[in-house]
Subunit: 334 residues, 2 copies
DNA sequence: CTGAAAGCGCTTACAG
DNA sequence: CTGAAAGCGCTTACAG
C-alpha cells in the first residue's frame, strides 16, 4: 500500500493525498477527512526511506556508548529513549566496547545521513579526538555525555566530577581516614582527571601527608587490578580509606577485603562512584557518589534536539553540568 | 557528494560507478580500481535511504524490550549487537516499559519497512498476542526471546525454565528446606508459568505437604511486594526456603530478612533467577539460576538473520532452548 | 483547493 | 564492458 494506490482509491492525485496526510493548509477539511479515513482503513503507512530521501531528514538519532551492560549507560539510554519517544524519533545503538578504532569507524559510518544527530560517550581508549572534530565540521549535530573530551568545542553533558571527587574525599576524612588511596583508571577523558584533581586538592587542603602518592593506576584488566589492590591492602601500613573512581574497583575492594579478612568500615572505609542498584544491599552497604544517569541521558537528548531543530541563533550551552549525589552508607561509618 | 558528482569526476556514467562500487562482474577491474580510489578520495558514502528505497531492504533490525536498565536485557542486547555488527546491520531500540499498549504501537510502527526484522521480548502486561500474529501474517521476520508467548508459532528463544524451576526447588530441598515459598509474578507469558510448574511438580514429587499453597503472587509494585514478603516471614510457621522467580523479589527478601533479623541461610534459604553481577558480593552471596543472556541475544539474532536471508526451504526451528545454570552460593548453604 | 511534474539518490534490467 | 532509462515512494514548488 503506497500513495499511488491510496490516491487511486480516493480518486485524488498523489500530491493531494500526500498533502492531506501531512495536514497541509492547502487541502480542504472534507478531503482531509476522507483521506485520513481511507488511509486508516487500508492501513497506509508512509515509506520512511522515500520520505527521508526526499526531506533529507532521518527522524533518527544514534547513541554510541562503550558498553551497555553497565547500569550507568543503560540508564542514560533509558533517558535518551524517553525524549526520543516524545519527539517520535528512532534510536540507533552502537557499542564500541571501549575500542577507539571501533569508535572512529562508527563515527565515519554515521556521516552518510542515516541519523540527524549523534550522542556519544567516548571509549576510555580514545586518545585522538579528530573524529569528533570532523562531525563538528560536517555540521552533523553531536552531543558528548559523561565520557567527554574537554577541549573539543561541542556540547557536553557531564556531572560535577571535580566537586564530587573533593566531597568524596572530605567524607572519608570526616569519617576519620588519615591515609586515603585513590583507585584511578587513567585515560584521556576529563572525567577521570577531574575526579582525581578533586581528590588531590582535597588531600592537600586537609594536609594529609600520608595520602601523598597514593594514586593507584588501575587498568582494564580486573585480575591485575585485584592483585594490585590486594598488595596494597596486605601492607602493614595500608590505607584506612579507599576512594574508587569507578564502580568495579569498589567491588574489587570488597572481594579483596573478604579474602584478607579486613573489616569494612572498621579496618578500612570505602567510597566509590556507582549507579549500582544493589549498593545498599552489600554488606556493609556501599557509600556511593551516584550520577543521575537517566537525567544525563535526558539532558543530552534535549540538547541534541535543540541542535537538530536549531533555527537562527538559539544558544546551545557548551557545558551542561548536573550534580551527582553522595549517598552515605555503611562502608564509611565511623 | 553523491553518485552523480562522483561519476562526473570520473567521466563515467552513474550506473557504471554504482556497479563498480558494488563490485559488479559487469565492470572491468581497472574501472573498479579507479572508482574505488576516487570514492575514497572524495569520501563518498552511499545514501542509505536511496539505497533502501530502491532495494526494499533497510539493513536494520529492531529490538523491542520491556526495559533496558535490567542486566538481563542489557546483556541480551549486547549479544544481538555483536551479531548485527558482524552482519553490518543497524540496531534500533524500542522500550515498552512493560506497557502492552506501547508494545502494540511500536509493533505497528515497525510495519512500514523501516526494519528487516524484529526481535522482541514481551511486556509482562501483554495479554493479547494478535499484534505478533499480525507481523507473522505480514511476513515481517520476527523472533521472540525470553518473554515469549507460547502459542504463537513464531521462532522463540528461551531458557529451560521448567527444568530450572525444578532444579532450583530440588536444590532447596537438598539443602534441608521443608517449606518452600515460590514468589511468583503472574502474567500471560509462558516463562513465569514454566518456572512455577517446575516448582509445583518438584514439590509434589518430593512430597512436601507444607509447601502446598505457598505460591505468593507478587505485583509490579515493590512496596506491596515487600509488605507481602514481610508478612510471610513474620509468621511463626514461616517458610524455611524461598524461591524467587525474578531477581528483584530475591533482593526484597534480603531487605526483609535484614529488617526482621532473620539469618540467611540459617533461618531461611533463598534462591532466585538473576543475572546480577553482584550476586556473589551480597552477604551472604546469593544462589542464582542464571540465564545465559548474552547467548540468548546472539542466538535470537542469528535466527532473525536466517529468517531475513531465508531462501527456499531452509528450516527455522520454532523453539530454541538454551540452558540456564544453577550457581550455588551462600544463601542456600546447609 | 487540486494536480502535474520534478527530483531526492540510488539500483538494475536492458540495449548496445 | 559501459550507458541511458525507468522506477523505488515520497514531498513540494509551481501552475491553474
Amino acid at each position: 500500500m503506497n500513495l499511488k494506490q491510496l490516491a487511486k482509491e480516493l480518486n485524488l492525485s498523489i500530491s493531494a493525498v500526500s498533502k492531506a496526510l501531512r495536514d497541509s493548509h492547502e487541502i480542504s477539511a472534507s478531503t482531509k477527512l476522507a483521506v485520513l479515513a481511507k488511509a486508516k482503513e487500508l492501513n497506509y503507512q508512509v515509506n520512511p526511506f522515500a520520505s527521508s530521501l526526499r526531506k533529507q531528514k532521518s527522524k533518527t538519532i544514534a547513541v554510541v556508548v562503550p558498553e551497555i551492560d553497565n547500569i550507568f549507560f543503560a540508564l542514560a539510554i533509558n533517558g535518551i529513549e524517553s525524549v526520543a519517544q516524545e519527539k517520535e524519533y528512532h534510536v540507533l545503538i552502537y557499542l564500541t566496547h571501549e575500542d577507539a578504532q571501533k569508535e572512529v569507524s562508527v563515527t565515519q559510518l554515521l556521516q552518510n545521513g542515516r541519523v540527524d544527530g549523534i550522542m556519544m560517550s567516548l571509549s576510555s581508549q580514545t586518545t585522538d579526538f579528530s573524529h569528533i572534530q570532523q562531525l563538528k565540521e560536517k555540521e552533523l549535530p553531536i552531543v558528548l555525555f559523561d565520557r567527554v573530551a574537554e577541549h573539543i568545542n561541542v556540547p557536553k553533558v557531564t556531572t560535577d566530577d571535580y566537586d564530587s571527587g573533593e566531597s568524596a574525599t572530605e567524607h572519608l576524612i570526616e569519617a576519620g581516614c588519615k591515609k586515603i588511596a585513590f583507585l584511578s583508571i587513567s585515560n584521556n577523558l576529563s572525567i577521570s582527571n577531574k575526579r582525581k584533581s578533586g581528590y588531590i586538592d582535597s588531600i592537600k587542603k586537609n594536609n594529609l601527608p600520608n595520602s601523598k602518592n597514593l594514586i593507584i593506576e588501575c587498568s582494564q584488566d580486573d585480575e591485575k587490578n585485584k592483585l594490585l589492590i590486594k598488595n596494597l591492602l596486605k601492607k602493614k601500613n595500608r590505607p584506612d580509606g579507599i576512594f574508587a573512581s569507578v564502580e568495579k574497583l569498589a567491588l574489587l575492594c570488597y572481594e579483596v577485603c573478604d579474602e584478607l579478612n579486613l573489616n569494612i568500615p572498621a579496618d578500612i572505609k570505602i567510597i566509590g562512584f556507582s549507579n549500582l542498584h544493589t549498593a545498599a544491599l552489600l554488606k556493609p552497604s556501599l557509600t556511593t557518589i551516584t550520577q543521575p544517569a537517566y537525567e544525563i541521558g535526558r539532558e543530552s537528548a534535549l540538547l541534541i534536539f535543540k541542535l537538530i531543530e536549531k533555527r537562527g541563533n538559539s544558544i546551545i550551552p557548551e557545558k551542561t553540568v548536573v550534580a551527582s549525589s553522595l549517598i552515605k552508607r555503611g562502608s564509611t561509618k565511623k
